[in-house]
Structures are given as structure tokens and as C-alpha cells.
């Protein structure tokens, strides 16, 4: 498949997947051909009335042959599993990157927010040779973001965040699309994935209309929704301080721990789901008050609080 004009592979990861695909196809192809050749040879040699010998098989043969190919198949398959699982595990490590793009899927479009706050619809611009992390959520049904050129996809779920990360290497314009059936115009949920040289990207990004970046927008919302009334450091209400919250292990009221990731914080805002140990459950929930985009901004602000602290402690 390498060099297949419709499937450019534009990252090291994609090339590695292609190699795996080709090797596995060759392996399974060999197994298939083995079966087909045997069937054809037997069909000709042992056609009814042919002179070939039908002498009885020795008794031991049946069992030994059977055990032989069972074990051989088992080990072949286990080997393939081991090989693929190794690749899966190494792909799990998320790169440390501050280049985060927020994606909100809704019937039937992709809303994209660049790290500097620039917004685009049905297009994702990224700089080449940079680790990029996509933080994705859905406004309505389940969608799935598919980047064929990078050989990756991930479902985009309502009510939680999923992530994709990659490092695209070859500049160019490719496609991305929705692969989880999402209703009438599912087939139109398709956009351009543009990889630019870092210089071009910087130029493009400067040319976008000026907007606040997400964290600053979030800081404004933090005050206007009244969050700061309790969560600001000087507040008299007994509410958790949000500095350094993101990414930490939080002890829960009912026992147990949870990692304060995007989904956790989102659930706290909208559903008031988890009560951290040592705090009274007094926070109101904001379901239907705060919309997806505002949650995204608030998240960016809360994350920035942790980044500040890390910076300060260093």
C-alpha cells in the first residue's frame, strides 16, 4: 500500500502502520495460499475415479498432524498479537506538548479552536514536525475523527473528552472525516487537514482574526459565572483551590481516587458528580447553564492555573 496515491502516509507512525499491514497481509496471504493450493491439488489428485492411492492413513498421523497445526496456528497468532500489542503500547505514550487543538463535533460539522484562539470550521491547520494533541468532545451524538493520512481515528463522545496526538511530517492538504454514523449528513462531515511548515503556520495563524486565547476567555467566564466567588484563593467559602488541580490525584468523598483530567473537571462543573474528600457538597451544577464551548474555555483556564504553578515551582 505504500505509495498508494490516495493514502499518503505523512508521519513515522503511519509508515510503521503500513509496514505492519503489509507484513500481516503477506503472512495471512501465505496461510490462505497454502489452503487454496492444498484444496486445488487434492481436488485434482483425488477426483472421483482417479488412479491415486487411497491407502489407509497410519493411526498416529491424524492426531499428530492435528496437534501440529493447532499449536503452529496458536503460536503464529500469539506472535502476531505480541507484535501488534507492542506497537499499541508504544503508541499510548502521549507526547508532552503545549500545542493543543480543541475540537467540538456536532451534527454535522467540526468546530476547531487553535491554541491561540483562532477558530475554524471543517478544517484543521497544524505545523509540521510538531507534536500536536487534539482534545475532542461532541455536542450531540457520537462522532469519530478519522485522519487517514496519519492512520489514526478516535471516537468523539458527548459528555467526555477523548484525545488524539500525532506529529505530521509532510506538508500538504489531506482529508479528515467522521467515521461514526451520526445521522442525515454524516457523509458531509468531512474537512481539510492542512499540514504547513512551521513558518507558514505562524504566518497563517497571525492572519487569523484576533480573538482571545482560550485560557483568557476562560478566566473571564470564571468570574462571570461566579466560580471565583468560592474557588478564588481568598474566598471564605470552603471550596477547593484550583491551582495545580489539573492532572493531580484527587481523594474522593466516598473513598478512592480519581485523576483530575478534562472529563473529571467537566463532570464537576456540569453534573457535580464527584465530591472531593473534605469538602461539603454545596456546589450547584451548571448543566444547561454553561455550554460546550464555555466548558472548553474554563478547562483551558483551569489547566493554565496548573501550568503557572509548575512554572513557579521550577
Amino acid at each position: 500500500m505504500i505509495g498508494f496515491s490516495d493514502v499518503p502516509e505523512i508521519s513515522q507512525y503511519a509508515s510503521a502502520i503500513d509496514v505492519k499491514f503489509i507484513v500481516l497481509t503477506a503472512l495471512t496471504g501465505a496461510m490462505g495460499i497454502l489452503v487454496f493450493v492444498l484444496v486445488i491439488v487434492f481436488s485434482i489428485r483425488y477426483r472421483r475415479g482417479s488412479p491415486a492411492s487411497r491407502a489407509p492413513l497410519p493411526r498416529w498421523m491424524q492426531r499428530d498432524v492435528e496437534i501440529g497445526w493447532t499449536v503452529a496456528t496458536l503460536f503464529t497468532f500469539l506472535f502476531v498479537f505480541w507484535w501488534m500489542a507492542g506497537a499499541q503500547l508504544s503508541a499510548l505514550a502521549q507526547p508532552k506538548t503545549n500545542f493543543e487543538i480543541h475540537i467540538e463535533a456536532k451534527q454535522w460539522m467540526w468546530k476547531v479552536e487553535q491554541p491561540n484562539g483562532a477558530r475554524e470550521i471543517n478544517a484543521i491547520h497544524v505545523p509540521a514536525n510538531t507534536d500536536v494533541r487534539l482534545i475532542m468532545t461532541s455536542d450531540d451524538v457520537i462522532h469519530s475523527l478519522f485522519l487517514p493520512a496519519l492512520r489514526i481515528k478516535r471516537d468523539v463522545l458527548p459528555g467526555r473528552y477523548t484525545y488524539l496526538w500525532f506529529k505530521a511530517q509532510r506538508p500538504g492538504t489531506y482529508n479528515f472525516m467522521c467515521t461514526q454514523f451520526c445521522g442525515t449528513d454524516h457523509a458531509r462531515m468531512i474537512g481539510h487537514f492542512v499540514v504547513m511548515t512551521p513558518e507558514d503556520y505562524a504566518r497563517w495563524s497571525m492572519a487569523q482574526p484576533e480573538t482571545d486565547d482560550l485560557a483568557r476567555e476562560g478566566a473571564r467566564l470564571f468570574v462571570s459565572f461566579g466560580c471565583s466567588g468560592c474557588h478564588a484563593p481568598g474566598s471564605r467559602v470552603h471550596a477547593p483551590d484550583l491551582h495545580g488541580l489539573y492532572g493531580r490525584q484527587i481523594p474522593l468523598d466516598g473513598g478512592g481516587f480519581v485523576t483530575a483530567d478534562e472529563t473529571y473537571i467537566r463532570d464537576c462543573i456540569l453534573l457535580n458528580k464527584h465530591i472531593p474528600a473534605g469538602y461539603p457538597p454545596v456546589m450547584p451544577h451548571f448543566q444547561g447553564v454553561v455550554n460546550e464551548e464555555q466548558v472548553t474555555s474554563l478547562l483551558a483556564y483551569i489547566r493554565s492555573l496548573s501550568a503557572e504553578q509548575q512554572g513557579a515551582s521550577r
Binding site: 453534573l271 458528580k273 464527584h274 465530591i275 457538597p281 451544577h285
Partner: protein, 210 residues
């Protein structure tokens, strides 16, 4: 349980095997029923572990009095059902019929109590939807499962009552003799519905008083 109690049907070679086959069949069916409810209980388990706080708040609103009363009623009905079986084996016709009728009546009593409970729940605004009374939103998950579990169980119980009444009518009119295969099958089903209720009771009512 005499052999003459049942008509031999195709394709069975003899009565004994036919009776054994019917019991075997209903046991297989009950296995499928367990998986049917199992999917529902799994749903409860997952949501409770995701929303422990909401489930704690929500389960406080269930009424343990109704729940316990219904548990007692249903357990008694199962006892009477078993009595009916035993008495039929001894060929005491009138007593067996009485037991069956008591069983069906206890089943009906359960539904009546359930009806009172439902009307209480409705007046307290515990039907999930825009006017739901509790906070936070995920308490609705508990009450959604409450309604689905109890309604599905009540449908099963209604079927059971129908079967018991049908059986007692047939016996009273001497269409079928005492201790038929059908009565064994129906009693197994009845006990099963009872066991399901015990699980529902533990999941719905008991957490509220814990």
C-alpha cells in the same frame, strides 16, 4: 404425581421423559431470563459506580415500607405455591386449588401495593423528566432504573398471575388433572419472579436505609 396425570405427546417416548423434558425446557428459559435481567442489573452496577453520590441521594427517596411489605407478600406467595405443589402430589384437590388461588391473590396484592407506591412516587415528582424533583441530574439515572426494573418485574408477575389463574381454572374444570407438567413449569417460573424481586429489593430499597 402419577403417570396418568399428563397426556403423552409427540415426540416423547414416554411420560416420564416428557415431564423431565418440560422441566429441562423451563430451566433453559429461566437461564435466558437471568441474562435478560442481568443486563439491567449490570446497567445499575455501572451507573452506581460512576455516580455513587447521586445514587446515595436518590435511593434515600425510595419507600422501604412499601418495598418490605411487597417482599413479604411475594415470599409468602412462593411458599403457598410450593404448598400447592406438595398438596397436589398428595392428591388433595380442594386444598391444592385453594393454595393456587391464594398464590394468585398474593400476586395481585403485590401489584396493588406497587400501585400505591407508584402514585406516591409520582406525587413526589420522582418520574424522570423535566419536572424531576432531585438534584444532581444523575439522580435521574437511579430513578430511571427504578421505574424500568419495577415495571419489567411487574409485567413478569402479571404473566405469572395469569398463568396461575389459567392453571386453577383448568384444574377446577377438570380439564387437566392435579400435578401436571404445566403446574411444575408455572411454579418454577413463579419462584424465579420472586428471586428477581429479592434482587431488585436489595438494589433499590436497601441502599436508602444503609
Amino acid at each position: 404425581m402419577s403417570d396418568s396425570a399428563t397426556i403423552l405427546r409427540e415426540p416423547w417416548p414416554n411420560i416420564e421423559r416428557q415431564r423431565y423434558g418440560a422441566a429441562f425446557g423451563i430451566w433453559i428459559f429461566l437461564v435466558t431470563e437471568m441474562l435478560f435481567f442481568g443486563a439491567l442489573f449490570l446497567n445499575y452496577a455501572v451507573n452506581r459506580s460512576l455516580h455513587p453520590e447521586a445514587f446515595r441521594i436518590a435511593s434515600h427517596e425510595t419507600d422501604i415500607v412499601y418495598g418490605t411489605a411487597n417482599t413479604l407478600i411475594l415470599l409468602t406467595s412462593s411458599l403457598v405455591m410450593t404448598l400447592a405443589e406438595r398438596v397436589a402430589a398428595a392428591n388433595w384437590r380442594r386444598l391444592a386449588l385453594t393454595c393456587l388461588i391464594v398464590t394468585a391473590s398474593l400476586g395481585l396484592a403485590f401489584l396493588v401495593v406497587k400501585g400505591f407506591e407508584y402514585s406516591d412516587d409520582l406525587s413526589k415528582g420522582l418520574l424522570p423528566g423535566p419536572n424531576f424533583a432531585l438534584e444532581p441530574p444523575s439522580t435521574q439515572l437511579f430513578w430511571g432504573l427504578y421505574w424500568i426494573m419495577t415495571v419489567v418485574h411487574a409485567i413478569h408477575l402479571t404473566v405469572g398471575i395469569g398463568l396461575v389463574v389459567w392453571l386453577s381454572v383448568l384444574i377446577a374444570r377438570r380439564v387437566v388433572p392435579l400435578g401436571t407438567t404445566a403446574s411444575e413449569v408455572i411454579s418454577l417460573y413463579w419462584h424465579f419472579v420472586d428471586v428477581i424481586w429479592l434482587t431488585v429489593y436489595a438494589l433499590i430499597y436497601l441502599p436508602g436505609v444503609a
